[in-house]
Amino acid sequence: MTTNELIEEGVAKLDGSAREVVLDFSAVDRIDPGAIGAMEKLAAEADQKAIKVALRGVHVDVYKVLKLVKLVPRFSFQ
């Protein structure tokens, strides 16, 4: 599964009844600008629906990218 597919899966889960969505990032070792754009959309939609999105197993390098683009506060990390 690509990073974008993973995020799309997360977006799809936002339509369900769960109050929290967990995305497993443990297989993501690099993230590109497209994925960052998708994550921004995911965060915005989750905010709108008051659903928490948690990222599990985020690699340090990817976490640093999310920090630099200021996406860290918009997710929780496991």
């Binding site: 590109d32 600008p33 960052i36 754009g37 990218v65 999310l66 630099l68």
Partner: protein, 881 residues
């Protein structure tokens, strides 16, 4: 319009600019994941994509800017690709970039992020190509704002780089370019919160704006290159180089030559050579005309209309008749400054020349040019005289001093020399810039330094030879000497000790005796001794006595061998003997061997690198410390201590114990010093009471004499601690003998060091606060019992007090007859003196002044409660016993 009055862009424009920065920010973040191999691959492909476009981009630049020469711009574009790539290809710019095993430092590259980059009209496409390579090599994203009259060709150069970069894996958005940029755009972007660095290549205005943006900035600016054409120069080469450089791209490179100062001897020949090679030499009227037209008479700056134009076009502009293929206009001027308009920067093929009659005058004229807008930039000299080149390089404030080469192309680096290739010339503070370097990859990186703990190297330094046990003095016959001075005191002479020593000295030696007062040496006594040493041209000193005599001999030897040694300066405080400000001298005027024979069993001065001098005028003791003070030979012969009185036996024995205990817990303690310290402690507890009670007991005397020496070997290398600092301070003030002064502090200091420090002392060699554990080990060594560290330390303190009781040592400072009022008056200053004492520097606890005051009062009242509260849990400590 002043930049502070620039209006903000419209909302739509702000959205556009934010979009550019946003893309760059995402790209920069993504870029942090890239490896060195990733960026190197991308950079190579960008350069391969750019090289074939060099000529097309040059043509676009000339068409858009109407400046310069297409052929030259094509070369500049090639240099920006090929030469710059050649320089950076093997440079590490990702992750660890340099490792230095010697000092444990590793430098790690961290990208900057989003860089907002201004590029100039004069070198538009080449600067863009250069900066694109810099950005990718360093994993940064760049938002370009080219000069408004060059943005199309710059956007095209950037597009070529961007497409190649993204095609080979660079993150999208890594380069963006502001379309039709304005001052308002630039002002907004310079302060944009996501811009991490402003990188302004261009005129002084752009550079100033960058530095006043409030952001970290790499602003580089204009120059005014002086050239000294000196009489020894290779004139043919110089003339061709100057023409090549000054006409290159019609003089648009800011490092190009502006005013040539020519020695009188070669002036006419030089001008003729210029003329022969297609240069028009202006007459006086033409020079004046040029000065009034191509230089703005108010601003005293070049007129924009002339920048980057051909010499023939400039001539036509002002109605000057020149030959059709004239390359350059040379205008002879008579000086530099406002009265000579052509002495400023001219980014077009007009060159000022100035005749000079001497090197001195030439250098002054070059300084004038340098200071007329060229500070920090570039200076050029043509000469074969190395001394004049040296003088020139010292006189010029220029980041690039180009020797026997063209200024413009020389300064670019990598063509005529090994300067770092660049299209951004840092001009240092003279030019109002943050760097004087040729800007390149390392200016676009944050360099992190990983500093591993590097414990200081330890040592164990002792005299070359130590002779010990009864009759060891007979080894004196092994040391030939022409003239020997025995330094001693009158009492030892009367006791016959001096005669014993005399008998052991080889008979052919001329022996004299100097008896000094039996007290810690004063400067006056030392200087009298030095006079004696000089008058007898002594080559061997035998110091026979206690610590005072041996210390005096050490300082006499120092002043004898190094008459210029300044004792006051050498006593300057220091934290680390290896980094001390004042170094002991090494070039000896005289040579003398120092043999030290101790007649007490305490100070160990016969092996130590210390000497204490009494400064009567200031009421204090001055400690000199340096291994050059150590005696060359030590003789530890107990026959000289057999008759020590009981009081002296006790005081000196306690001094020895203090040395060992303080060395044992010192921050400079090592397994080598521990071995000596622990053995000395064991010997003191076993033999001191015997030597005290039975002074004629040879074994006890011998062992105490050895204990004093080996404790001194320990503290010579581990130093002592706060006990000595306190004892030095109040001992000097109240005239208390050193051993006794130590004794009254010792139980309190052990308890103090064993308790939880208020402040830990910075000490790379200490892996934990080990003092309590080491005291506990000493207690174990002495078989004092106890189960916990606290109990063992308490037992040690009790054992020390019991030992003192056996030795009938007074137990408080008050017992010495010092009134409370007198002590109270003295204590604040004594605490400060003690804090400054070098002994304090190796105490395991960093003492606070208030704590020193407390210790003084505890010692004043006497009797130490053998309690140690809050000793920290300690790891295992390796101690040699």
């Amino acid at each position: 319009m002043p930049r502070e009055n620039i209006a903000p862009p419209t909302k739509e424009r702000i959205a556009y600019l934010d979009g550019l920065v946003g893309q760059a920010r995402t790209a920069a973040a993504v870029f942090t994941q890239y490896t060195q191999a990733d960026v190197d691959r991308i950079v190579k492909q960008m350069v391969l994509a750019g090289l074939p476009q060099a000529q097309r981009l040059a043509r676009l630049a000339v068409e858009e800017t109407r400046l310069g020469v297409m052929e030259d711009k094509a070369i500049k574009n090639m240099v920006a690709m090929e030469f710059v790539y050649n320089y950076v290809r093997d440079k590490r710019t990702v992750g660890p970039i340099r490792e230095c095993e010697e000092n444990g430092l590793v430098e790690v590259a961290e990208p900057i992020g989003v860089i907002f980059s201004l590029t100039p009209i004069t070198n538009p496409t080449s600067t863009i190509l250069f900066k694109c390579v810099m950005a990718i090599k360093t994993r940064n994203a760049m938002v370009f704002s080219p000069h408004p009259s060059a943005w199309r060709c710059c956007a095209e150069a950037m597009r070529i780089m961007y497409q190649a970069a993204v095609k080979h894996g660079a993150p999208e958005g890594v380069f963006t370019c502001v379309e039709a940029p304005t001052l308002e755009d630039n002002a907004y972007l310079m302060k944009h919160p996501d811009v991490r660095l402003v990188d302004a290549t261009g005129g002084r205005g752009a550079s100033r704006a960058a530095y006043s943006s409030g952001k970290p900035a790499l602003g580089v600016g204009s120059g005014n290159t002086p050239v000294y054409l000196e009489k020894t120069a290779d004139l043919d080469m110089a003339v061709v180089d100057i023409i090549t450089s000054k006409t290159f791209d019609n003089g648009t490179i800011c490092a190009s030559e502006q005013t040539v100062v020519i020695d009188d001897e070669i002036y006419d020949r030089a001008l003729k050579k210029f003329a022969d090679l297609g240069v028009h030499i202006c007459n006086e009227a033409e020079t004046e005309l040029l000065g009034h037209t191509v230089i703005d008479p108010v601003k005293k700056q070049m007129q924009p209309m002339a920048v980057g134009q051909k010499a023939t076009d400039i001539a036509r502009m002002i109605g000057l008749k020149v030959k059709p293929h004239t390359k350059l206009l040379i205008a002879p001027i008579k000086g530099v400054g406002p009265a000579y308009p052509l002495s400023v920067e001219k980014l077009f093929p007009v060159l000022a020349v100035c005749r000079t009659n001497s090197v001195d005058e030439a250098l002054k004229l070059c300084i004038d040019v340098n200071h007329a807008g060229g500070l920090g930039h570039t200076a050029v000299i043509f000469s074969r005289d190395d001394e004049i080149i040296r003088q020139f390089s010292e006189a010029m404030n220029a980041g690039r001093i180009i020797v026997n080469s063209p200024g413009a192309i020389g300064a670019l680096g990598g063509v005529y020399n090994d300067l770092v290739p660049t299209f951004s010339f840092g001009c240092g503070t003279g030019g109002g810039n943050s760097t004087m370097d040729n800007v390149n990859v390392y200016h676009y990186l944050n360099i992190k330094r990983v500093a591993r703990r590097t414990p200081a190297h330890m040592w164990f330094r002792i005299p070359d030879q130590i002779y010990f046990d009864m009759k060891a003095v007979e080894h004196l016959r092994d040391f030939p000497s022409r003239s020997t001075l025995i330094i001693t005191n009158a009492a030892l002479e009367q006791m016959g000790h001096v005669n014993i020593v005399r008998r052991s000295i080889p008979p052919q030696t001329l022996v004299r005796v100097l008896a000094i007062p039996d007290a810690e040496p004063e400067v006056k006594v030392v200087m009298q001794g030095v006079e004696t040493l000089n008058s007898y041209a002594v080559d061997q000193i035998v110091a026979l006595g206690g610590g005072s005599v041996i210390d005096a001999a050490k300082i006499m030897k120092l002043k004898y061998e190094f008459p210029e040694a300044d004792l006051e300066e050498l006593a300057a405080p220091f934290l680390d003997i290896r980094k001390r400000v004042v170094r002991f001298p090494t070039q000896k005027t005289n040579h003398a061997r120092l043999i030290a024979i101790s007649t007490t069993s305490g100070t160990g001065s016969e092996v130590t690198p210390f000497a204490v001098l009494t400064d009567k005028a200031r009421g204090r003791k001055v400690t000199l410390a340096d291994y050059s003070l150590s005696p060359d030979v030590a003789i530890v012969d107990p026959q000289f201590v057999m008759s020590m009185p009981k009081g002296l036996t006790a005081d000196t024995g306690i001094d020895c114990l203090t040395h060992a205990l303080e060395a044992g817990v010192s921050t400079h303690a090592s397994v080598y010093t521990d071995a000596n310290a622990m053995q000395a402690i064991r010997l003191v507890f076993k033999y001191l009471p015997i030597a005290y009670e039975n002074p004629r007991d040879e074994e006890a005397r011998g062992m105490m004499h050895n204990a004093a020496c080996i404790a001194a070997l320990a503290f010579s290398n581990a130093s002592v601690g706060v006990n000595h600092a306190l004892a030095h301070a109040y001992g000097a003030r109240f005239g208390v003998a050193h051993g006794r002064a130590n004794a009254l502090m010792l139980p309190h200091v052990v308890a103090y060091n064993a308790s939880m420090p208020t402040k830990f002392r910075p000490s790379p060699n200490q892996r934990a606060y080990v003092a309590p554990k080491k005291y506990a080990m000493i207690a174990d060594l002495l078989g004092l019992g106890g189960h916990t560290v606290d109990e063992k330390v308490a037992n040690l303190v009790t054992a020390i007090e019991q030992l003192f009781d056996q030795l009938a040592v007074p137990r408080s400072i008050a017992d010495l007859g010092i009134s409370k009022e007198e002590f109270e008056r003295a204590v604040p200053e004594l605490a400060e003196i003690a804090f400054d004492d070098p002994s304090c520097r190796s105490n395991p606890r960093l003492p606070l002044i208030g704590e020193l005051v407390d210790l003084f009062w505890k010692a004043y009242h006497g009797r130490c409660p053998a309690q140690v509260a809050g000793a920290p849990a300690e790891p295992e400590v390796e101690v040699c016993v």
